[in-house]
């Protein structure tokens, strides 16, 4: 695991490279929830396939209950699949044991949650340092990496502040900093703008774009919001536990936004919500 480097090459041109460049490959992923008491079973994911290549910025959209959160939980290794495979960096997460999964998450994944999930007992700097310190890095290595990522995200002056001493937007930036400080292969974001006002949301999404374009961070973001999705390069919509359609950004953001709105109208229309 390498600490945060600003100089890493931006693989913008490699977006459509060969499948072996894939950071994430999901094959026939199925998740069935069963209620032992009532005996009722619900299929959240039904043979889903998805590939995310290095340097991609993918938004996952879909109506409520389509399986977005389940997919994210499985990708994060927080839940186990009923069947199917999840390959991240050539390793199958489905076959990993609890301890290996923890080490894998530590080195390969970064997380941004809707409700930030910073530890109130630690300063922003310490929260951000967690993934590196967890991996046994020494202070000499941790501190510069934390400072670098904080200044990249514009929060370096809050190094020693506690989460409750800063705004929601700044907390979310700190959460992003924590998610990328160890240069993960894949950054997973779960409705990251859900608790932010519009200005903070915009700033955060621009930050994601900058991370993606400047450093080449691979991002997979689950969102409801079409505007948030328009910041990404690709939108994958899922419905009834399967990939419904995909949109590739080809023109400017405004046009992409319009395309997403159309997709949603189509999705929700067929979902009976329109």
């Amino acid at each position: 695991m390498q600490p945060f480097h600003l100089t890493q090459a931006a693989p913008h041109g490699q977006m459509h490279a060969a499948p072996q460049n894939a950071v994430l490959q999901v094959r026939n992923l199925t998740k069935v929830y069963g209620n032992a008491r009532t005996g009722v079973q619900a299929t959240a994911l039904n043979g889903l396939n998805l590939t995310v290549e290095r340097g991609d910025f993918v938004s996952i959209m879909g109506p409520s209950g389509s399986g977005k959160s389940t997919l994210l939980n499985l990708l994060a290794g927080l839940d186990t699949a009923s069947s199917g495979e999840i390959w991240v960096q050539g390793q199958n997460m489905a076959s990993m044991r609890q301890n290996d999964l923890a080490l894998f998450r530590r080195r390969n994944l970064g997380f941004v949650f809707q409700d930030f999930n910073l530890l109130d007992t630690l300063t922003l700097g310490e929260n951000i340092a967690l993934p590196l310190s967890l991996d046994g890095k020494k202070n000499q290595e941790i501190r510069p990496a934390v400072l670098k990522v904080m200044s990249f995200l514009g929060i370096n002056e809050y190094l020693n502040r506690y989460p409750y001493e800063v705004s929601g937007g700044q907390q979310q930036r700190a959460a992003v900093a924590r998610a990328v400080v160890h240069n993960p292969n894949l950054l997973l974001a779960d409705e990251p703008t859900g608790n932010l006002d519009s200005a903070s949301s915009r700033a955060l999404l621009e930050l994601f774009q900058r991370l993606n374009q400047t450093i080449g961070t691979t991002i997979l973001m689950v969102t409801h919001d079409p505007l948030s999705a328009s910041y990404s390069r690709r939108v994958v919509s899922i419905k009834d536990g399967q990939v419904h359609s995909e949109l590739q950004r080809s023109a400017d953001q405004q046009a992409f936004f319009q395309q997403i709105l159309n997709l949603l109208a189509q999705l929700e229309g067929s979902h009976g919500v329109a």
């Binding site: 927080l78 609890q98 923890a102 999930n117």
Partner: protein
């Protein structure tokens, strides 16, 4: 920012959340050290007055040990559950279950060490004060010196060390077994509306009814049913909260309620279900304190008062006229004066012995009775609490004083009589007398000198007494010397003094003084002191566990009230909702505890066949203890409400 320093800092800052837990554990350790230090004090077993104290404190140590072990396991498990999200996050970031387990273990050990160190230190610092207090309450002439012994500290460290170590190992093992998803998403899981189960409602009612019936109707089998009663009461109380009260709130909800009332009722039904376990535990803790303080202390207090009333005179000497003392009453007064005692009053009266309904009885004249009664009342006005003294007796009337008039238990009546008359047999004479039964003290409780003396007293008409006196033999004649002395020092051995200075070898006499009273006073005081300390510990534990449990829901409430304020809830309404909710959560356990302890008190009064007199004092004490307890909880309530509202920041979102 290295792992070790971050984790240590996390532990340090987490300690703030653990303040209530740490305080209660520290206090438990402190009480343990204090009580144990006394038990190992060199004088504890040497001085007679202190042996009883040692027994009381030994029992208290036993209670504190059980309580501490339970409390440490339970309270920490609750705190750990509230940190699920934190552990889930750390696991998501890549902490292995083993690392989480080690962190929790380390934390638990740190808290344990802090509690042991602080508690032992506080115990050591306070023990001279504690010893002085014990010396004071048992009336030791000299201050009990502070004597350091490493044994109490060693025992405390070993006992609490094992408890904390076991607790740390079990807690960390349990945390390791949770998955990050459950930990992380647990907080977000929607609350299921509480549904009641009729079976559990009936089970709860049956448990409570069973416990109450066993306590009230079968008090005599206390040894066998005490444990089942406690278990039934715990189970019944739990279901009372989780099912019965939730069910009642559910019925309330069915009625059309206005906005705020609806919110209060619906939030409360969720809270009661979530809090059922802690409320049941707090109730049982409260009930233990109230029963202990109210019932036991009240009961002992009534024992003390009855003892005090059993000795209306500082000193009473009954002597047989056949083998009297060497000294006359006046010479005895001189002897007492020489010992530095001031005799403020004295009276010499005669009595005879005869039989009433076949049982040996002391017979005194109404004049003598009246003189003794007047003297007794002069110095113990409270004695006159049992009705009117008969104005005058005709020759065919009598007044029968029972053997143990101021008993705290009923049942032990002296002479058994049937109908309205009794038969007085004196030599060859037989008198049929109409009689009244009474409980007026004119004699001290009889002492024992190897020879028996009748304990019942028959007061007869003075003329009749004189007639009897004329025909009496010397063996039937006795003299009573009654003295009122100013402050008899505890150390003075009156019995030894009279035996040495006033008695012949063949003298037959009984010396009745209230020598057991100082011992009883000491015992009651020490029970009060130890009881207050242990009760205080229980009270702090009960109040704190509720207080800190309430604060764990703050984040959720902040979100809920933020949403409510957006749809127009006023600050005043928000405060009302929280205020009523807290009021119920703090005071329901007190109310139910009062009911439980009232039943326990009834049980105890039945068990000891307590008289109305003892019962009155016991109930009064329970009432006072309940009021003090409610006041302490009101304080907790006030502080909790103020802090909660302040931190909820309802005003800023309204």
């Amino acid at each position: 920012m290295e792992w070790r320093s971050i984790i240590l800092k996390n532990i340090r800052r987490t300690m703030r959340r653990y303040l209530g837990y740490l305080t209660a554990s520290t206090l438990a350790v402190m009480v343990f050290v204090l009580f144990f230090s006394f038990l190992f004090h060199p004088n504890a077993t040497r001085l007679a007055q202190l042996q009883l104290v040692a027994v009381v404190l030994g029992l208290c140590v036993f209670i504190v040990a059980w309580f501490a072990a339970f409390f440490i396991f339970y309270f920490h498990a609750t705190l750990i559950r509230e940190r699920n999200k934190e552990f889930g996050l750390l696991m998501t970031l890549g902490m292995t279950p083993g690392q989480i387990g080690r962190m929790v273990f380390l934390e638990s050990i740190c808290i344990g060490i802090a509690a042991i160190l602080l508690g032992s230190l506080a115990g050591l610092i306070l023990s001279p004060l504690f010893f002085a207090l014990i010396g004071l309450v048992v009336g030791l002439p000299n201050t009990l010196s502070f004597a350091f012994s490493p044994i109490p500290l060693t025992i405390t460290v070993i006992f609490f060390g094992i408890v904390f170590l076991l607790e740390a190992a079990i807690t960390s093992w349990r945390v390791q077994r949770r998955t990050p998803r459950i930990l992380l998403l647990g907080a977000r899981v929607r609350q299921i509306p509480p549904k009641i189960s009729l079976v559990k409602v009936l089970l709860g009612l049956a448990c409570l009814a069973g416990a109450y019936i066993m306590a009230i109707a079968f008090s005599v089998q206390f040894l066998y049913n005490a444990f089942p009663i406690v278990i039934l009461a715990i189970v019944g109380t739990f279901f009372l909260y989780s099912e019965l009260l939730v069910g009642l709130l559910g019925i309330l909800r069915r009625r059309a309620l206005s906005g705020v009332k609806l919110l209060i009722v619906s939030r409360l039904s969720h809270r009661l279900r979530d809090y059922a376990r802690i409320l049941a535990i707090v109730t049982i803790l409260n009930a233990s304190v109230l029963s202990a303080m109210g019932a036991v202390y009240g009961f002992l207090q009534s024992v003390r008062i009855s003892l005090e009333q059993s000795y209306p005179f500082s000193l009473q000497i009954k002597e047989s006229m056949e083998h009297p003392l060497r000294l006359t009453p006046d010479q005895i007064v001189e002897t007492l004066k020489k010992e530095g005692l001031t005799v403020t009053d004295q009276k010499v009266t005669l009595f005879l012995t005869g039989t009433v309904n076949g049982e040996a009885t002391q017979i005194i004249s109404q004049d003598a009775y009246q003189q003794l009664r007047d003297m007794a009342l002069r110095y113990t006005p409270g004695l006159d609490n049992t009705g009117q003294i008969p104005a005058s007796l005709t020759p065919d009337q009598a007044y029968l004083l029972d053997a143990v008039p101021f008993a705290i238990t009923t049942g032990n009546r002296g002479i058994t009589t049937e109908g309205e008359t009794l038969t007085l047999q004196f030599g060859s004479q037989k008198h049929i007398l109409h009689f009244e039964r009474g409980e007026h003290r004119v004699l001290n409780n009889p002492g024992f000198n190897g020879k028996t003396i009748p304990t019942s007293i028959l007061v007869v008409n003075t003329d009749l007494f004189q007639k009897l006196q004329k025909i009496s033999t010397i063996q039937q004649q006795y003299r009573i010397q009654s003295y009122h002395l100013q402050q008899v020092p505890d150390t003075l051995d009156l019995y030894g003094l009279i035996a040495e200075k006033a008695a012949e070898k063949e003298s037959t006499y009984w010396l009745d003084s209230d020598e057991s009273l100082p011992l009883m006073n000491g015992l009651i005081n020490i029970i009060l002191v130890a009881g207050c300390i242990v009760s205080g510990l229980f009270l702090i534990a009960a109040g704190s566990s509720l207080y800190f449990k309430l604060f764990t829901q703050q984040e959720e409430d902040r979100r809920q009230f933020h949403a409510l304020s957006r749809i127009g809830m006023q600050k005043r309404e928000g405060i009302r909702i929280i205020g009523i909710e807290f009021l119920v959560l703090f005071f329901i356990p007190v109310l139910i505890a009062i009911v439980h302890s009232s039943v326990a008190t009834l049980d105890m009064l039945h068990l000891f066949l307590a008289t109305d007199f003892a019962a009155r004092i016991t109930w009064t004490t329970l009432l006072i203890a309940s009021l003090i307890y409610a006041a302490c909880f009101a304080l907790y309530y006030g502080v909790a409400l103020y802090n909660y509202i302040r931190r909820l920041k309802i005003s800023t979102v309204a």
